[in-house]
């Protein structure tokens, strides 16, 4: 692979060969998509949320469709940190050129801390993404992602134990996202991921009940793109840490729009379900689109929308 500096990005000390990674929960632990293409082509990989104990997740149906989007309430199903350390992360070691970011979730601050400490010790983990924004799990009554104080506290606690950079994944379901971003920055976060899903619902006209067994679900896909762009545009002007942008990305032009809004790299979620090749296709397409819009390098474009 030719090193291409136009696409390279540096993200809180991580050097990525390109800015495109699959988003957490939309790519498992990589196994399934490795059957389609060489995962080394990706800028990085963000794996499914990992919790202390195994989680069985929510009852089915777990997904529903909406115009230009989908709802999901998977409920953090995962085999637990032990199994992830034993099976999933070692599996990813074969991809030598693939930074791994582990999405960490929990119910108590202690869970996050314990899981973060463990996964940050895995030889091939490059960063942690703290999922303080999953709308599908009642977090012990506390919604980490909507309270700047608690979000900051959690971030500080995890930072103390983590051996790798910590990204905090923010919830868009808030009146003002800026203070939360600032609180986690002040608490030591190395970067932000935004946005997680919007809380939504669909009803089944035949059964007269929510389609998703959980009731509400997280809205992802193209429908939420303008909300993501707006929030990244706002937050990136108020913090000095890099942002991994996501929410509805489908193609290379969307990537440029996110970078221009202030993201330093991007994650692609739902679009993988529509086209399993979407990440490598976007990466292939990126330079041509950069030429078209006169973009010399991704780094140069970061925040160009407001600079």
């Amino acid at each position: 692979m030719i090193d291409n500096q136009r696409l390279a990005v540096s993200l809180a000390g991580l050097n990525l060969k390109n800015p495109v990674m699959p988003a957490s929960g939309c790519f498992g632990f990589g196994r399934e998509y490795a059957e389609f293409y060489d995962l080394n082509r990706l800028g990085a990989i963000v794996v499914k949320a990992t919790t202390m104990e195994e989680r069985l997740g929510n009852p089915v149906p777990r997904v529903a469709e909406t115009p230009g989007g989908m709802l999901n309430a998977i409920g953090l199903q995962n085999p637990g940190v032990d199994e992830v350390m034993k099976t999933e992360l070692p599996y990813l070691e074969q991809f030598k050129d693939l930074p791994v970011i582990v999405n960490v979730a929990g119910t108590e601050i202690e869970d996050y801390v314990a899981v973060s400490q463990r996964v940050s010790e895995a030889p091939n983990v490059s960063a942690i993404e703290l999922n303080i924004s999953c709308p599908n799990v009642k977090c012990g009554g506390i919604t980490f992602g909507t309270d700047p104080g608690i979000a900051g506290e959690l971030t500080a606690a995890v930072k103390k134990v983590s051996k790798v950079p910590v990204f905090v994944k923010l919830s868009p379901n808030v009146t003002d996202i800026v203070p939360i971003a600032q609180a986690v920055e002040a608490a030591g976060a190395d970067g932000l991921s935004m946005i997680n899903t919007l809380v939504g619902m669909r009803l089944n006209l035949k059964t007269r009940r929510p389609i998703i067994a959980n009731g509400t679900g997280g809205l992802s896909g193209p429908a939420i793109k303008p909300v993501a762009i707006r929030m990244i545009y706002q937050v990136s002007q108020q913090v000095n840490i890099p942002i991994i942008g996501m929410g509805g990305i489908q193609n290379a032009e969307d990537v440029l729009e996110f970078i221009m809004a202030g993201a330093s790299a991007v994650a692609v979620g739902t679009a993988n379900f529509v086209d399993p090749f979407v990440c490598p296709n976007i990466i292939d397409e990126l330079e041509q689109k950069m030429d078209e819009y006169g973009v010399s390098s991704i780094q140069e474009l970061v925040g160009a929308g407001w600079k």
């Binding site: 089915v60 997904v63 998977i74 896909g221 993988n272 379900f273 086209d275 399993p276």
Partner: protein
């Protein structure tokens, strides 16, 4: 290659709301396992956004022609029903684990039970079983006579009993009723059961045959995201967790599961 474009050859309504769609394309050459499915993109826009799982009903491997039979349910299948010959169709597949047939021995007797829009995959399955020297008997159930599909095709593969809930075609009742009566389909008369159809039917079959220890396979449906095992949308719980696996994914561990493997 598991994603690719096929070209629509024909798309014809066979009964009310049900269409037979024939498409041709390179990746169809790999579709050799009955019970697998394809994940179909309906239209090219963002509404519908997700693909739709449709079973393989028949394949001509040499000519790379796939037949699907589908019922118009909502937005996605509605758009699919508007496909015209020559149009490209974006397919992901073949996906999932089909009906196990490699262990079948010549001379065995397989009972294939289908309900409604669950009947189509049993056609390809029956043909492949017959190729292996297995005798096939079909029992297919529908609500009413006007919904009966594929009867002639199945009849050419093996004896086919039609059952309708209102008795307007074949026997009156449910498919399981037929097994009780004088059709020589008592448990000892067959070696293996394969079934696809509505959940209540599958549940009735599992409840009845799991205790008997008979070999059998059921094909399930579940709402899907990715279709390839990555998103965990389509899970079902296992009855008795082995190797700590408390769930199965319908898209990649299934859609076909042995009798008794999952909770219904």
């Amino acid at each position: 290659m598991r994603k690719g474009m096929a070209t629509v050859l024909s798309n014809q309504q066979i009964v009310d709301r049900v269409f037979r769609l024939e498409v041709q394309g390179d990746l169809i050459g790999e579709m050799t396992w009955p019970g697998q499915f394809v994940h179909v993109r309906c239209g090219t826009g963002i509404d519908p956004l997700l693909r739709r799982p449709i079973s393989i009903c028949d394949v001509n491997v040499e000519e790379k022609i796939l037949t699907m039979v589908y019922r118009v349910e909502g937005h996605g299948t509605k758009i699919l029903s508007e496909s015209v010959p020559g149009q490209p169709l974006d397919l992901l597949g073949p996906l999932g684990q089909g009906f196990p047939i490699d262990e079948r021995k010549e001379g065995e007797h397989a009972l294939l039970i289908g309900g409604g829009i669950g009947v189509p995959p049993l056609y390809y399955l029956g043909k492949e079983l017959v190729k292996r020297g297995v005798k096939v008997t079909y029992v297919i159930g529908f609500g009413t006579a006007s919904q009966v599909i594929l009867e002639d095709e199945l009849q050419s593969v093996g004896t086919t009993y039609v059952v309708t809930m209102d008795g307007s075609a074949g026997e009156k009742g449910l498919v399981t009723d037929v097994l009780n009566e004088g059709f020589n389909l008592e448990d000892s008369a067959w070696d293996v059961l394969y079934s696809c159809g509505p959940l209540p039917m599958l549940k009735a079959l599992q409840d009845r045959f799991q205790p008997t220890g008979k070999e059998g396979y059921l094909s399930l449906e579940q709402r899907m995201g990715c279709g390839v095992g990555a998103c965990l949308a389509c899970v079902c719980q296992t009855q008795s967790p082995e190797n700590g696996k408390k769930y199965r994914k319908v898209c990649s561990d299934g859609p076909v599961f042995p009798l008794g493997e999952v909770k219904l």
